[in-house]
């Protein structure tokens, strides 16, 4: 009897203490700080968490409602990702960041059924750009097919508008993620006349001897990489070993962080990668981050990742989530929004350069607006190049637009096939 009273007393105290769950805006993160891909996961999670901390500390939350941030460890493992989803789905999650293409594919039908929005920034299922089929999934500001198209457009610029007769090798992580760009690059090869050579690397990708021997034999003009984790530095090291010209080696945005080039040392000099956002600490927002988050010691993790490429990506994802929440509050006229309201905010999100300047992130990301027909933003990306001497990434182009006409055409085909398989009638929710 005494134990029952004690338990009831503890429960009452917990409920009375602090804001109730309904008084907060819950932003869960299906992060991975352990396992073979931890190095990338930690940087993203730190950036994502620090931005929410900044909003709480500086602004008192969003629209006066504090943010509640939580992490669930997936170790970049699809099964664990689904378990994490089960653990947060009833905890009013405003938007999910699955941080893995494999997990995304598993969660798309579940989030559709549960009415929980999901943001897969620069990863996941590309055809989710069609919001008439994928009402609850958003992949702005860019997706894999955009990335592949941006690389080809960049190479067209470099080659006076013609890739006819050129040979381009795609070295890809042999997974759902790595295979994503193949349809786009194949379609573009038919249009521009280049020969596409696809070379898979099994996860995790520590041994790539055969692949780079093949590249040495085939002598492609360019190598494009869709890698992750240890596959990236191994590939860059192998490219340096066979003396492949680094300026002709271009990675996707998941193959272009400090973790990918630093282990290679001087050999990585000149390697290029896509950038869907700016990087480094030369943005006014870092003054606020320093004052409200870093100096008081409220940073996530160890604070070592601040300003790195993947930290910047996490921070950018959080910024887009906060802006969508503000939009949702504006649309519905309530501060304590629900996941369904958040979805409306995401579906009507508009990011302008004026807003980016106001947020302390001038020219950090592209200007774009989201609509039911396009959940994917502008798709624009820049090219960055690694300077091994200065140990920094330098942006070497302005925003490059993808071939959106082709991508939307392909996305329509794929999304309508998904709709037919799952008995979905394409329609906008608002």
């Amino acid at each position: 009897m005494k134990m029952t009273h004690l338990a009831a007393g503890i429960a009452a105290t917990l409920i009375a203490a602090g804001p109730t769950l309904a008084d907060t805006l819950h932003f869960p993160n299906l992060s991975y700080r352990t396992g073979p891909f931890a190095a990338g996961g930690i940087a993203f999670a730190d950036g994502y968490a620090d931005y929410f901390t900044l909003i709480n500390e500086r602004d008192g939350g969003i629209g006066g409602v504090p943010i509640r941030y939580s992490e669930c460890e997936t170790a970049y493992n699809t099964e664990r990702g689904v378990e994490c989803y089960q653990s947060v789905r009833n905890d009013n999650p405003l938007v999910l960041q699955p941080l893995s293409t494999g997990i995304t594919y598993q969660l798309i039908p579940r989030t559709m059924e549960d009415g929980i929005p999901m943001h897969t920034m620069g990863y996941g299922r590309t055809s989710a750009v069609n919001g008439e089929v994928f009402n609850w999934t958003f992949n702005y500001p860019a997706n894999y097919w955009d990335g592949a198209s941006v690389i080809i457009n960049y190479l067209l610029d470099e080659n006076d508008g013609s890739l006819d007769g050129k040979k381009i090798a795609l070295v890809y992580h042999n997974s759902a993620y790595g295979r994503e760009p193949i349809p786009t690059l194949t379609r573009l090869s038919e249009r521009y006349g280049y020969e596409l050579l696809t070379i898979g690397v099994d996860s995790p990708g520590q041994e790539q001897g055969s692949q780079w021997l093949q590249i040495r034999r085939e002598r492609p003009d360019y190598v494009v990489m869709w890698g992750w984790g240890v596959m990236n530095p191994t590939a860059i090291q192998e490219a340096a070993n066979i003396r492949f010209p680094m300026e002709n080696f271009i990675g996707v945005w998941w193959s272009g962080s400090q973790q990918d080039v630093l282990p290679v040392g001087a050999g990585a000099h000149g390697y290029k990668a896509l950038a869907m956002h700016g990087t480094g600490t030369d943005y006014p927002i870092y003054e606020d981050l320093q004052r409200y988050v870093i100096e008081p010691g409220k940073y996530a993790g160890t604070g070592d990742e601040v300003g790195t490429v993947l930290y910047s990506r996490g921070m950018y994802a959080a910024m887009l989530a906060v802006e969508a929440a503000k939009k949702a509050q504006e649309i519905h006229g309530v501060a304590a929004i629900t996941p369904a309201m958040m979805r409306d905010g995401m579906a009507n999100l508009e990011i302008t350069e004026e807003l980016m300047v106001e947020l302390g992130l001038p020219n950090f990301g592209p200007a774009f607006s989201v609509a039911c027909e396009n959940h994917g933003g502008s798709g624009a990306a820049m090219i960055q190049q690694w300077d091994a001497n200065a140990r920094e990434w330098n942006l070497i182009t302005d925003w490059i637009e993808p071939d959106r006409e082709l991508i939307m055409e392909m996305a329509m085909e794929d999304s309508l096939a998904f709709a037919a398989e799952n008995a979905i009638t394409p329609a906008c929710l608002n």
Partner: protein, 328 residues
């Protein structure tokens, strides 16, 4: 000479050097299995832990800095000095010996006479524990490892083969060094086990625990010795693989490369680990070379296991393993 033959020869040469890299990991497994009958699931994590410790010493990183900072609110990261490689390697060896002592004292001592599966389960626990400790101790970020080993294409091999065939073969200098180091390692282990008192004691324990105990050999000492040697072998494997693509947590997965090597070479034979590694290395490179145009690439992970499976059908004990005959 036809191009295909030249390319196949190049693939074979690369397979041989890659095989040595696999054999380096397999050696650690063999040593422990041979001396104590334990399949050490933690061998890959030991390679990771050793490499993390070496880089930590080299870069003057304060161990457990993140934990100290979190508890005491400090901002410690570095000692402010870098340890030269010739000191960092012996310091790491001492850490691996200390680890061996702790493993014996807190795990193995309590599991004497237990079934092999119990000991195997204990090493699974050890693997998770070491991975977690490595993370807390040195952090999870990717670290560059440089012990002065040369990397990149071997100009000499390129020149010689070009002079012979009109086509220069590619060989990574790091893998050539790995082959040399593996040779020295195997020779040292052989000399140690054949010509030293401790080595002979180790072989006696491997042959028959009870008989070795009856003549006064300390089982506890032999276990510490075996795990220390396996720790040193793990350090060598960690250095080689870490130099290739940085020290990060996926390094522990190199153990997966050793399993087919062990199945093929036998769990109790040091030469078997080397020969098994070479067969797997050459087999997977040639298979990829010939089959890539037909079935696409990315065959390396599963082909090694298929090859090992085929061997299992004909020689379950592996090429050099001891044939176990039991009276039923």
């Amino acid at each position: 000479m036809p191009d295909t033959l030249l390319f196949a020869m190049e693939a074979t040469l690369n397979g041989l050097t890659a095989g040595v890299m696999y054999a380096l990991v397999a050696l650690g497994f063999v040593l422990i299995f041979k001396a104590s009958g334990i399949f050490n699931f933690a061998q890959g994590v030991m390679a990771l832990f050793a490499a993390l410790t070496l880089v930590g010493f080299q870069s003057g990183q304060i161990p457990f800095a993140h934990l100290i900072n979190a508890v005491f609110g400090t901002r410690l990261h570095q000692f402010g000095w870098n340890m030269p490689t010739f000191l960092a390697i012996p310091a790491t060896v001492l850490v691996m010996i200390l680890l061996a002592v702790l493993v014996e004292r807190y795990i193995l001592k309590h599991l004497v006479n237990q079934e092999p599966i119990i000991l195997f389960m204990a090493t699974i626990g050890l693997a998770y524990f070491l991975e977690g400790v490595g993370d807390i101790m040195w952090g999870a970020e990717v670290k560059a490892l440089d012990v002065g080993l040369p990397k990149g294409m071997s100009g000499a091999v390129d020149d010689i083969t070009f002079a012979w065939f009109g086509y220069g073969f590619y060989i990574d200098r790091l893998e050539l060094w790995a082959a040399g180091i593996a040779g020295i390692l195997v020779a040292s282990l052989t000399i140690f086990s054949q010509y030293t008192k401790q080595g002979r004691a180790l072989r006696a324990v491997a042959d028959d625990h009870q008989a070795a105990l009856s003549v006064g050999i300390s089982l506890r000492f032999i276990w510490v010795l075996t795990w220390s040697i396996a720790g040193i072998v793990a350090l060598v494997a960690g250095i080689m693989w870490g130099s290739k693509s940085g020290v990060q947590f996926s390094l522990s997965l190199i153990a997966l490369k050793a399993l087919p090597v062990l199945i093929l070479g036998g769990f109790t034979s040091i030469p078997g680990a080397i020969v098994g590694g070479l067969i797997i290395g050459v087999g997977e490179k040639l298979f990829d070379f010939f089959m890539q145009p037909v079935i696409g690439g990315a065959t390396e992970n599963w082909f090694a296991y298929m090859l090992a499976l085929a061997f299992l059908l004909f020689r379950p004990q592996g090429l050099f393993g001891e044939k176990i005959i039991e009276r039923v």
